[in-house]
């Protein structure tokens, strides 16, 4: 077990920011931490990193207390909006971090090349774009093959291509046994990229499961989008008792048990129907279901 949280509670004055949060992250597992702004994601990460103490509960990082030398040695962190000293070059900044971890500085160039910063290595970080700074942040998080990787909104500021490259690197790390905990607002991108989803809502953990299980538990309606052949949209809509959306499209809503029966109804219409799309509830739907207390 790389990370174990048990009944972690954090209070600021009389405001409870985290309320008895418990979950684990195993080696090689990618866990997404989701929640609104102020849900307690960053606070939880700071507790895991040993930057702030919890009021109650226990945290075990690689079997040790958060903030201990062993925990720090095995953990890498990428802060939200990673910032560095603008006067240093990417190369110098990375050499600094390598020295702090006791690693040889010759690793700086391969690390920078791995995150696509090879050509900019000798330029000052002050001249970098936000996405480039985020890549420096990722490069420093890759130093020394960490056993636990904590990433706070890692892809904010990255373009779609960079995001894809970023997740490829994460997948490689997970395959090597690194436990990954990442927070994100971009729900659709974590959908296919994480093994488990933890949802925080106002400091309370409202969900901790795989996406498939969350879908099942939420039992949100499924949308069937039927394309009628030309001129037949009204007939299709009335026969399926659905809503006509435009000239050709008809929307049907059903729950997962009814899905096959409805599909049978559609195929029975034969030449009236040109195509059908099955749209499962999106992560956004599931997320708002659980964060509104639907899973509690």
């Amino acid at each position: 077990m790389c990370l174990t949280l048990s009944q972690v509670t954090k209070r600021y004055d009389d405001r409870t920011v985290l309320d008895a949060v418990s979950f684990d992250v195993n080696a090689g597992e990618r866990v997404a931490l989701l929640g609104h702004n102020g849900a307690g994601k960053s606070t939880l990460m700071k507790i895991i990193l040993g930057l702030i103490p919890a009021n109650e509960g226990t945290v075990s990082v690689l079997g040790h207390a958060p903030g201990s030398i062993i925990a720090k040695t095995g953990t890498a962190y990428l802060p939200e909006n990673a910032a560095f000293h603008p006067a240093l070059t990417g190369q110098e900044q990375l050499c600094h971090y390598l020295r702090l971890r006791g690693e040889p500085t010759k690793h700086a160039t391969p690390l920078l090349e791995r995150v696509g910063l090879g050509p900019a290595a000798k330029r000052r970080i002050g001249t970098y774009s936000k996405g480039m700074r985020q890549r420096v942040g990722l490069a420093q998080a890759l130093i020394g093959k960490p056993r636990l990787l904590v990433l706070d909104e890692p892809t904010s500021g990255l373009d779609p291509v960079s995001r894809r490259e970023f997740y490829v690197i994460l997948d490689e790390l997970a395959a090597q046994g690194t436990a990954i905990l990442l927070s994100s607002h971009a729900l659709t991108e974590v959908e296919a990229r994480t093994d488990r989803i933890v949802i925080l809502s106002s400091g309370v953990m409202v969900a901790n499961d795989t996406l498939a299980n969350l879908r099942r538990r939420a039992s949100l309606p499924i949308r069937l989008q039927v394309s009628a052949t030309t001129g037949n949209a009204d007939e299709v809509a009335s026969k399926l008792s659905g809503d006509r959306r435009n000239g050709v499209m008809v929307d049907l809503v059903c729950n997962s048990e009814e899905k096959l029966a409805r599909l049978g109804d559609i195929s029975a219409l034969g030449s009236l129907v040109e195509d059908v799309d099955v749209i499962p509830p999106s992560l956004e739907d599931i997320y708002s279901h659980f964060s509104k207390g639907g899973g509690a």
Binding site: L51, I52, T75, P79, N81, A82, A83, A87, E92, L100
Partner: protein, 273 residues
């Protein structure tokens, strides 16, 4: 140790890029040159060698300038990292806060030593060139050098403490300037006013010497002037403190860096990024 040196190295590069090294060296050299040009007048009257007189002038200069340079270098050390958001990341590395602080301290002290050496070196050179007897004053110059480094170390520690305490560079900058004004300028004026009001009473004989020696800048001045035997070249309050044994002043300037850096470390430990 490697982690401490890693921080020092990076801080030194940053100071080089930010022109801090250039600024402090130029400032020290410029003031030293002006001082040695202006200070050449009283030589004949005193019969002292020229370097000893220069050292006396440099002492008065260093009391103002060394704390100022040290405070200007240190006020941003922690507050700046908090504001940029770099502190939370570096604190997740397997580095103790004391090591981080020590790394910065070594780098800043090295820069200060370079600036002081350049300034005093130029002043000494002009003294030696115009007076062949000036080498007699060399021990005084060396004493001035290492005591200046200790004075600088004290004010670096104070600067770090203020930086950690105020958490914002703007507030830290205001506080260090205020502190410099109080400790270096107003403190002596305040003591002077108290002496005048006391008119030779218990304050003047009992508390005044300790209050004077308790201020690192005054202790620095007393020590250097008493040891260089050129006290006559120095005017002002220090003359009144002739009764204080130089050893006490030495203890004060040696202990202050330890107190200041320990306080800075204790304040930094409480900072949550």
């Amino acid at each position: 140790m490697n982690r401490i040196l890693a921080s020092s190295r990076t801080e030194f590069v940053i100071a080089l890029r930010n022109r801090w090294i250039t600024i402090s060296v130029v400032m020290m050299v410029l003031f030293s040159l002006v001082l040695s040009a202006a200070g050449s007048a009283p030589t004949g009257a005193l019969g002292a060698d020229k370097l000893s007189v220069t050292v006396a002038s440099l002492t008065s200069l260093a009391v103002y300038l060394v704390p100022l340079v040290a405070l200007l270098m240190s006020f941003d050390a922690i507050a700046g990292e908090i504001e940029r958001g770099t502190l939370s990341l570096v604190l997740t590395y397997p580095v103790a806060r004391g090591e981080l602080l020590l790394g910065k301290f070594i780098a800043h002290l090295a820069i200060l030593a370079i600036a002081v050496a350049a300034g005093y070196g130029i002043a000494a050179l002009t003294a030696v060139v115009s007076d062949t007897n000036a080498l007699v004053g060399l021990p005084a110059l060396l004493r001035l050098f290492w005591s200046s480094i200790l004075l600088g170390a004290t004010f670096l520690g104070i600067g770090y403490g203020i930086s950690a305490f105020s958490r914002r560079p703007g507030a830290a900058a205001g506080l260090v300037i205020g502190l410099w004004l109080v400790l270096i300028v107003l403190y002596d004026l305040g003591l002077l006013a108290a002496i005048v009001a006391d008119d030779g009473g218990a304050f003047t004989t009992g508390y005044f010497p300790w209050l004077l020696i308790g201020n690192p800048a005054d202790a620095f001045r007393i020590y250097n002037l008493a040891m260089s035997e050129a006290t006559a070249a120095a005017a002002g309050l220090t003359g009144a403190a002739n009764s204080i044994p130089p050893l006490y002043a030495l203890i004060s300037i040696a202990v202050w860096p330890v107190i200041a850096t320990t306080l800075a470390w204790a304040t930094f430990r409480k900072v949550t990024p």
